[in-house]
Subunit: 446 residues, 2 copies
């Protein structure tokens, strides 16, 4: 029977594919090593050919001469290479392999449709997105999403240290938190259902359970905007916390989160930052906070621009606010507080000093909104009054209201758009550039 | 201007709500402290009243006597309490507060519909789920989802250390990876769209980019099963890795993941394990691996049960396999390998030794399938042949096939059902018990 039933006897070979960094600090210089990767580029330099492998953490240079009698396989083949590991400070990871053996593990069927080996591929955004499974193999493209991983790690690690609980809330529901027209609808076993626009109701209800919660997950918005800043599906970094004194606590927590993200990128993603030519990360030690109405005045005065709509920030105004605080305070992030009540959802807490404004904020990063947050109403009677004032109905909100009936602490929270934060950090001008597989009004593939 | 614009001057007060553990090891015994929490239970013991607060990490006992002249607020109120911190080894966290002040931050409007202060609430599952925002406040219920967080942490931390990249793939697409009837469909700006049944296509394509990827996210299955083990939306822990020698590498990686999860729970979730009466975690050092056909024979022989369907495992058979390996090997997990080809999707790699079986596996945990995984086909011609053999069409798979045309390494991966893993770990008998807000054929709320 023992030849049929193995006990923990399988595998372990997954450790046999060292990364470039593993090789560089392996102490194996001068010895024969074996490793695997994808043929990324070939450079013929007279009698010497450099066979460049793409590995999970960067490029590995392999050296071949005419006398070796080894044929270079077709591009994009998956290879296993063997040879002496040599120090070479000109090679990408500081080491290279003097090839003595090469095995093709799998082969490509065609030449690649784009030159992924170049630093910039020189393709249109449309083509980049159409050919996503291939274009992402470009090192610069790939690095963007490693940075995105670093952002998520920073967010999670900081909030975990602050005693937050990670939750997974449903994306299919009978009704939506925000209401309104921008909802994807579907048939759920002959019942009407919607896709979650945000985890808002759920994360609030969970404050009554865990006190502090966060979630990283997809949200769906059927907005009919096809702009450089909008996606119809994106990844939202949400948190919500109880027992706050005011919405300033939420801003302080976000400041901590942003600081943790930048520290994590600096410490653990240096190669990716270098691949993207990012030499300095944004400052998080000087985030100004300014009232919505005052911010509008400031940019109107400084840049001689009339205030057209006192209740909303136009994209151009956001950009100017970013510019203003960069020029005046050398700030990359700005908190805009006290948004008008008519532009915030019903659960936002109004400012008792002036009910036309709310105890809420946006965070702008280099002139683009990346966060919306604020304090929420926590007493049921106030919530019902606000629902009525907004001309809404509480039908379908029974479970949400039950949480308040049964006691909810003062609380607030926020949502950060992952792709937008990445876009601003990297300095791209279209959010699709920093989305793995973007979804917009005209794009549902690949 | 400085009175209007604050610079990092907001908040920081979010640190002013110490947890029970913070208080216990604060060195503040004998001193006056202030903290916040929800009124969870009140115990009148003659002249002394114990006011029990629920905090994010457990219960905090506050002591009140008749002479204090402090009224006990209504249950479930959010409170701020002040008093001398006293050591008391009988108190939940080893300390208690001798109350001198109490402030109501917000109040409940009604008595709670269930006795959340009891160890077990004694409600039906239906009622538990209907009243989810309240029933989750029960310490045992809450602990289940803290354990779930610990599972996700263990998964992520282990794979990050193994150089995996975290990805976020779209949940809305023009077509599904698995195909078939169990797909939720919707209208996407007048185009037909589906909800992702799994990130399968995307994670495979990303192996060509990052070599090793993982994702924790929702998946949607329109299966018309209303059983104790099925959900129509669940959280899937997926990974996929390139340059494998065989699917045994995937099993080895899963073994490492499971080990890391158990270690994380043991080290960081002891209070939650105690709340759930879990005194020992499952063994991961002796996971047997057995072929599908042999496993069926073994239980048929030992438990005298005829093999009715040679191509599928019935739930009862899975349970018996779990029992067999517990009895014979003291094993909690079992890998069942070489599933029949006709029961696996087209992208599964057939066993070259016998094409009626695949190089794939399931992992059973205490007799329930929690994982499906295996090696995938990595050459395009084989993939096309398999699609044809299955009577399918490759229409709509252009981007997926492009990845293979442009070279893909040998690879494989798996998906673990988070709620099922939690259910088996905790010893619940219905997966809804370990889902925050379950979605099944008849439940779309709360």
């Amino acid at each position: 029977m023992e030849d049929i039933i193995k006990i923990n006897g399988y595998g372990g070979d997954f450790m046999n594919n060292p990364s470039v960094a593993d090789l560089a600090c392996s102490g194996m210089i001068g010895q024969i090593v074996t490793t695997r990767g994808t043929l990324h580029a070939v450079r013929e330099m007279g009698k010497v050919t450099f066979v460049i492998l793409r590995k999970r953490d960067g490029l590995l240079q392999c050296v071949l001469t005419e006398e070796d009698g080894i044929d270079v396989p077709v591009m994009a083949s998956a290879l296993e290479v063997t040879g002496v590991l040599q120090a070479n400070e000109k090679a990408p990871g500081g080491c290279e392999i003097r090839l003595s053996g090469l095995r093709v593990l799998s082969h490509a069927d065609r030449t690649l449709p784009v030159a992924i080996g170049k630093k910039r591929m020189n393709v249109t955004l449309e083509k980049n997105l159409d050919l996503r499974p291939v274009t992402l193999r470009n090192l610069r493209e790939r690095a963007k999403f490693r940075i995105q991983m670093g952002i998520c790690e920073g967010f999670r690690n900081y909030l975990t240290a602050q005693h937050f609980t990670e939750i997974h809330t449903p994306k299919l529901s009978a009704r939506s938190a925000e209401g309104g027209a921008n909802i994807f609808k579907l048939d759920y076993f002959h019942h009407p259902a919607v896709l979650a626009q945000s985890p808002q109701f759920y994360k609030q209800m969970m404050v009554g359970v865990f006190e502090r919660v966060y979630e990283i997950g997809p949200v769906f918005r059927a907005e009919k905007h096809n702009t450089k800043r909008h996606l119809n599906e994106y990844t939202s970094l949400d948190f919500e916390m109880g027992f706050i004194d005011s919405f300033y606590d939420i801003m302080a927590m976000e400041t901590g989160v942003l600081e943790a993200i930048m520290t994590n990128l600096k410490e653990n993603y240096a190669p990716e930052l270098a691949a993207l030519d990012i030499t300095s990360l944004p400052r998080t030690d000087n985030i100004p906070s300014v009232r919505f109405d005052r911010a509008k005045e400031l940019v109107s005065e400084k840049y001689d621009r009339p205030i057209r709509n006192p209740y909303d920030l136009e994209p151009e105004e956001e950009a100017l606010i970013g510019r203003y605080f960069k020029e005046e305070y050398d700030a990359d992030f700005v908190f805009i507080t006290h948004y008008p009540s008519k532009k915030r959802p019903f659960y936002a807490m109004d400012d008792p000093a002036d009910e036309t404004f709310t105890l809420s904020f946006d965070c702008l990063f280099r002139g683009l909104e990346i966060t919306t947050g604020g304090q929420r109403i926590h007493q049921k009677d106030e919530l019902l009054a606000k629902i009525e004032k907004k001309g809404m109905t509480s039908e379908g909100m029974e479970a949400y209201l039950l949480a308040f009936e049964c006691g909810m602490p003062p609380h607030g929270g926020l949502g950060i758009g992952l792709e937008r934060l990445t876009m601003q950090l990297i300095g791209e001008d279209n959010v699709r550039e920093t989305t793995l597989f973007p979804r917009d009004m005209t794009r549902l593939t690949p």
